[in-house]
């Protein structure tokens, strides 16, 4: 079963009939059901699947890291030893030494109370019996190896003093400390900005070339699989539904689910609107500044310029995509345009300057300008029913409506987003992420707005769900001639939805233009880097990042 391109390589890890079950209050949940997979020395294998597919629990079981209510059965042979049957002491001789792991959450996976140097050194001290001094020396070399800038100083930093990308580099350094045979990477780039993602992947690839360990790469991102792995296992509902060399699977997927996943990459382009279409929203020199703490009683206040003199125009029926890394000020810009945070500069909506207006009084304008947020869990009030949530705007804008009429409109709005209107009496916690996002869209749509601000509406969702939401948004736009301000860090989605793109960095507009133009010929360095990283996850040709 050794994969790869026909080369005969020694099998390092062979997992047979792995099952993982969790005991829950309402009975057992089978997270992994009869999974087989192998990894050869120096090979890169990807396990891909959407949330809840059991891909993470598969590797957690190998590493003995299941939660207390979880049990694993089956066999996982590593150099002749069954990892699942080992005593904790024997297992501890392997994990951290022969098999190491990096995790999704760079923020919380390092102990916040110890310096990173000590954390890198710790496994060397316990596994190889190195002195702390020797281990520290090696830790410094490792930090240089993972190319942390200014490693001599950073070795004594605490995790909170490092950026997300740097922390992930520290994790990698820690993983490499004992020259492992196998590195398990559980969504190591998911929580990072796209430009950082690309750097981390590049680093991993280089390190593998130099050190020759096998990598098990867990991800939901087919773009990364295509670029990074030699063989892939596609998981769904705890089972492997398809496996094989990456090239084959991408070229000719056999299983319907794999085909669906591949098709779930957002597709389609939006034709730009006519130059003559009336302008619906115009912002000139919009700035938002937040006071930074310490301004108590007369001390000098410092400010953070979240948005810095930004100018933009939106025409009716148009979609403007706003892209940039986290902290670039895209969300703040959205809130400023909606008058949710105070700003400077001019904002004209439907020909009226709204920068100085209290939109609560200008109800006619308020209802025309609505928003959908990223977090489908946080944007619905947990104690209200779906019906109450969806009709909340009607209470404000059409208080004279009868209850029955409100219910009728709520039903219509829910139908419009393809939800069963009978669900009005349910509460948000009873719905999945995609369904909640539909509810949030219904809440905005019930007011029949002209402009909808979409603040990363698809970022927290699985690709397949994402695709449905994209389709929904596209249909709503066509039917109601909606104008969208679409904020996202996900360029694939932006490319599919937007006519024009605005690239933001540190609160400023770096570049703006028609979508195809920007994607095909980015002018600014930052945009180029962003595109290169995005090509990586979008699964497009690799030349852009390989360098």
């Amino acid at each position: 079963m050794t994969g790869g391109a026909g080369k005969e390589r020694q099998t390092l890890l062979a997992v047979r009939d792995l099952n993982v079950a969790f005991r829950l209050a309402d009975g057992p949940v089978h997270a992994v059901r009869g999974v087989d997979f192998t990894l050869a020395a120096g090979e890169t294998v990807a396990i891909v699947g959407e949330s809840g597919s059991g891909k993470s629990q598969t590797v957690m079981a190998l590493m003995g890291l299941l939660a207390a209510n979880g049990t694993a059965s089956g066999r996982a042979l590593y150099r002749g030893e069954d990892l699942l049957a080992l005593s904790p002491r024997r297992l501890n001789r392997i994990r951290g030494e022969k098999i190491t792991m990096i995790f999704q959450e760079p923020m919380s996976s390092l102990d916040p109370l110890y310096r990173v140097g000590r954390q890198i050194a710790e496994p060397m001290v316990y596994h190889r019996g190195l002195s702390w001094r020797a281990a520290r020396k090696r830790a410094l070399e490792l930090l240089k190896l993972v190319r942390i800038p200014d490693a001599e100083r950073r070795i004594d930093a605490y995790p909170h003093e490092l950026s997300g990308g740097q922390r992930q580099r520290v994790m990698i350094a820690m993983a490499l400390a004992n020259d492992p045979d196998i590195l398990i990477a559980d969504e190591p780039t998911t929580a990072l900005d796209v430009t950082i993602q690309a750097e981390i992947l590049k680093l991993l690839r280089e390190l593998q070339d130099r050190l020759g360990m096998g990598i098990v790469f867990i991800t939901h991102d087919l773009g990364i699989v295509r670029r990074f792995a030699e063989r892939v296992y596609v998981m769904r509902e705890g089972k492997v539904v398809e496996e094989g060399p990456v090239a084959d699977i991408f070229a000719a997927p056999r299983h319907a689910y794999t085909r669906m996943l591949l098709a779930a990459e957002p597709a389609g382009r939006k034709p730009p609107v006519d130059e003559a279409t009336p302008v619906i929203l115009e912002g000139r020199d919009v700035s938002v500044a937040f006071p930074l703490g310490g301004g108590f009683l007369g001390r000098q206040r410092q400010e953070l310029k979240a948005v810095d003199r930004l100018t933009l125009t939106l025409r009716e029926g148009e979609t403007l995509g706003v892209v940039g890394d986290s902290g670039s000020g895209k969300s703040t810009l959205a809130r400023a345009l909606l008058r949710l945070v105070p700003s400077e500069g001019e904002i004209a909506f439907l020909g009226r300057d709204i920068a100085g207006l209290n939109l609560r009084r200008e109800r006619g304008l308020r209802r025309q300008l609505q928003i959908v947020f990223q977090d489908p869990y946080g944007s619905l009030s947990p104690r209200l029913t779906i019906g109450e949530i969806v009709t909340e705007g009607l209470l404000v804008h059409e208080p004279s409506l009868s209850r029955a009429e409100r219910d009728r409109r709520a039903a219509a709005a829910l139908k419009e987003v393809q939800l069963d209107p009978a669900m009005q009496t349910r509460y948000p916690h009873e719905f999945s992420g995609g369904q909640r996002q539909r509810i949030a869209i219904a809440r905005a749509m019930i007011l029949k707005p002209k402009l909808l601000v979409l603040d990363e509406p698809t970022s927290a969702l699985d690709r397949s769900v994402q695709k449905e939401i994209v389709e929904l948004l596209r249909r709503l736009q066509a039917e109601h001639r909606l104008t969208y301000l679409f904020i996202s860090h996900d360029l694939a989605v932006v490319r599919a939805l937007a006519d024009r793109v605005l690239v933001m960095k540190d609160g400023r507009a770096v570049e703006e233009g028609e979508t195809e133009e920007i994607f095909a010929r980015p002018r600014q360095d930052y945009t180029k880097r962003l595109m290169a990283a995005a090509f990586l996850s979008a699964g497009a040709p690799a030349e852009a990042w390989a360098g």
């Binding site: 300008l369 669900m423 509460y427 809440r443 007011l447 397949s464």
Partner: protein
């Protein structure tokens, strides 16, 4: 493309369950909390109705039954009846003949050099042991008679205190006082704390800064000393007690409410409501209050025992409610003074207090677990 359906499918029934309904269902499954609720209900009911129904008023002094131990048998014991009758008759200054007890009736032969004044029966009536005292069979010259009386059978299931008052009646009264103070002081803390915390949290900025700075300063004061000073100097007064206690305990409430309000204000559903054009009042009513209620309810349930404890503590030091009213702290303090020889005076009030506090704490913990299920 049926595979693309949402992975989570909804189960029937169609009518949804709110978080509160969920929480109550979880609470109902928590046996300790339910048992606590039952105990609390029984104690509250007993303390409200009990003093009216119980045969002994809490302030009635039975001078013949000072410090009698707790017993399920009726008092007086048989061997005390005859001596007590003799003692009473001796006070009436009559000559005493044979005293016999038959069932619940005592017969005493008495005589005197002068005709017996029928009013002398008062001396016997005064005793807590006898009732329906009457002179039967007065001789013709009135110098001798048979006095008949019923033995009053009294139950002191928790014994009596140093003044001869029924301890059980006093415990019932004490529970009533303790609960009342607990609830009232909690209400005071709730009003001040919620108003303060919600104002600071919702207004934010400099106002919040100043308001919470004041709370910080108040935190660092040795409050218990102030309460003691207050109570010592302004007399032992129930109203003052719970104002003082409530005024101390509002600080935590203010912090909790402020923290909740602040974090809720940043939640996206509040921003969404703002974008919909909902007014400030509407946001507070529809989004802030329903979401703050849970933590506040939990804190309140846990505050009641804290306040009762504080009140008992002050009462224990002799700074609490005044005689003849009583509270559990007063009773325990008396019990502690009399523990050598009258241990029931310490044990029963202690059990009552412990039971009350246990029940309240378990209920509060249960409520917290029900509202904030981390292990799901």
């Amino acid at each position: 493309m049926s595979l693309a359906e949402e992975p989570v499918t909804l189960k029937e029934p169609v009518s949804g369950r709110s978080l509160w309904q969920d929480a109550l269902a979880r609470l109902a499954r928590n046996r300790a909390a339910m048992a606590s609720l039952l105990i609390l209900a029984v104690m509250a009911l007993a303390s409200i109705l009990g003093p009216a129904l119980w045969p002994h008023p809490y302030d009635r002094v039975y001078s013949e039954y000072v410090r009698v131990p707790a017993s399920l048998e009726a008092y007086p014991h048989e061997d005390r009846i005859v001596p007590e009758m003799q003692r009473s008759l001796a006070r009436a200054r009559v000559d005493i003949g044979a005293v016999t007890v038959a069932g619940d009736t005592v017969r005493a032969e008495i005589s005197d050099e002068e005709p017996i004044d029928p009013r002398m029966i008062r001396y016997v009536e005064r005793s807590d042991l006898f009732s329906r005292v009457r002179l039967a069979e007065t001789s013709a010259d009135g110098r001798s008679a048979v006095l008949e009386a019923e033995v009053a059978r009294l139950f002191f299931i928790a014994g009596t205190d140093g003044n001869g008052r029924d301890l059980f009646a006093r415990i019932l009264m004490a529970i009533r006082i303790s609960l009342a103070i607990g609830l009232l002081a909690t209400a005071v803390a709730l009003v001040i704390g919620v108003t303060w915390g919600a104002t600071a949290g919702y207004l934010g900025g400099r106002v919040d800064n100043v308001m919470m700075r004041i709370v910080d300063i108040l935190y660092s004061l040795p409050f218990i000393f102030f309460v003691i000073l207050l109570v010592v100097f302004f007399g032992r007064n129930l109203v003052l007690m719970f104002i003082a206690v409530g005024a101390v305990e509002w600080l935590d409430m203010a912090r909790i409410v402020r923290g909740q309000t602040l974090s809720l204000k940043r939640r996206e559903f509040v921003e969404a409501a703002e974008a919909l054009g909902v007014s400030d009042a509407g946001i507070v009513r529809r989004h802030i209050i329903p979401n703050v209620t849970g933590p506040v309810a939990v804190y309140m349930t846990l505050l009641v025992p804290k306040v009762i404890l504080l009140e008992s503590f002050l009462s224990f030091l002799g700074l609490g409610v005044q005689e003849p009213l009583t509270s559990l702290g007063v009773l325990i303090s008396e019990g502690a003074k009399n523990m050598q020889g009258a241990s029931w005076l310490l044990i029963y009030p202690s059990i009552a207090l412990a039971l009350l506090l246990f029940a309240l704490n378990f209920l509060g913990d249960g409520l917290r677990d029900a509202l904030d299920p981390k292990d799901r």
